[in-house]
Subunit: 287 residues, 2 copies
């Protein structure tokens, strides 16, 4: 057994005990996979937990379904990041015509397909899925009016993922979306990562004119309470109706997400609303 | 600096670093208070975190306001446990005629008034507050048709608090409530303490005929995602309207709670609904 875990804040730590299955260093980051007695297989990048086989549903359901269950037709979807394949698997449940997944680190994909295969569960072999290995920000900038949804499944805004919180990137995403398009990104803990939360909110609002955050929880993320932000060109996600019928017609069964949970997740507590009201667009710190 | 923290599940731990201010052993439990760089003053009982000065609002707002903001008149309230005084302080915001607080361990009250005074903030001196040192279950059993709300602010169902999860106790609470009365209890993590969650749900449903759980988060509780259960003789809490107007007329300002958050909290994820559907009444384990 080996100890791993994260520093969450000053004097606050998560600690796990598990068996280290592999440790690799790719061109971009350190990649470790653990076998854990409660959470199953655990993927860490630079020692930060990205996903586990037991609680992946909490993150992937809330990253994907609020955007795609809100729309009647989702033809073309772009995923940025998401190397473990869980987001791709959930997107394919919504019967899109095509999904492009742009992941910068091929080594993450290889390792997850080998050691956490239930995350993608065959999604990479789906003929509707196209894999691009490369820089997601550069890829988005090459497209215009091309996608019904862009889902950013990146890591924290340090290292290679920092650009994915910038106003330039968000504006490029807006241009790459079709008229009724939806943008979604994970945006960190509203308790322990308030700078990151406010940077995302400020820059998304500057790019899209408005932004609707929502909250849920991921047991293995720092602080558990987790935020996502949505920005749309058409109808905002908090106003979405017909979700239950769409989940049913697409034969999607959820453990965490439902129409009621959708609307509950957008009901922000006053302290989170205050974070939004005081957020301003800011340049991302240089990695 | 000293390390403290909890075992949350097999191989899952929280860890904190702070300064130990005092450690006492009362007739009932070990009581420690720490100074922590992020969470401020931290109270632990038998090494389990009960509250902190920084995040107490998350627990106390969601334990008290959903019950009391749902009702136009709250004349008499009973709190069982709640030695730190935070629940009493929040109950008094709703302008009750009287509040009885029945806490088994006087040493907790003394220590919190000395070292975490912002939790009660003068509530113990309020002429509407009556303090009873004794066994909460026995106290409830002596009353009939006496309270508009009973709020159980106990610790986990081990040791002296185990009886507070029993069908006998819940039935006594039902008898002690007035016709439109509300019962509320914290009921643990729906991820890591599913046995406790199901025991409370099964026994409350057996006693009251129905039970409405709701979810929120407490950063320093194991797993952060936290459950509470409500049971009412009259209108169920999920149907409550007029919350915003009542908070406003009572001049209550919240950081976490609002009318929208109230309804969102009762929107249970499918995996939690399933815990409810498979719960049965069970005898509490003998301490």
């Amino acid at each position: 057994m080996i100890e791993f875990g994260e520093r969450i804040a000053d004097g606050v730590f998560s600690r796990y005990e598990g068996e280290l299955l592999t440790s690799q260093r790719s061109d971009f980051q350190k990649i470790d996979v653990y076998e854990h007695p409660f959470f199953g297989r655990v993927l860490t990048l630079d020692d930060l937990i990205q996903t586990t086989t037991r609680d992946e549903f909490t993150y992937h359901e809330m990253l994907v379904h609020p955007a795609l269950a809100a729309r009647d037709r989702v033809e073309r979807v772009l995923i940025i990041g998401g190397g473990d394949g869980g987001t791709l698997r959930h997107v394919l449940m919504h019967a899109p015509r095509s999904v492009v997944m742009c992941e910068i680190d091929e080594a993450v994909i290889h390792l997850c397909r080998e050691l956490l295969p239930q995350l993608s569960d065959g999604a990479f072999e789906d003929p509707r899925a196209e894999l691009v290995i490369g820089d997601g920000a550069a890829f988005v900038a090459e497209h215009e009016d091309a996608f019904d949804a862009i889902i950013v499944d990146g890591s924290d805004p340090v290292g290679p993922a920092v650009v994915l919180f910038s106003e330039e990137f968000y504006s490029a995403c807006r241009r790459a979306l079709r008229d009724d398009g939806v943008f979604i990104s994970q945006t960190g803990s509203p308790i322990f990562q308030t700078d990151e939360f406010q940077m995302a909110y400020g820059n998304l609002t500057a790019s899209f004119g408005r932004c609707h955050p929502y909250l849920s929880f991921v047991p293995t993320y720092p602080g558990t309470l987790w935020s996502y932000m949505s920005a749309t060109k058409g109808e905002p996600l908090p106003d979405a109706t017909g979700i239950t019928a769409r989940l049913s017609s697409r034969e999607i069964t959820c453990k965490l997400y439902s129409e009621a949970v959708h609307h509950g997740a957008f009901a922000l507590p006053p302290f989170v609303k205050e974070l939004c009201e005081t957020a301003r667009p800011v340049p991302v710190p240089r990695g």
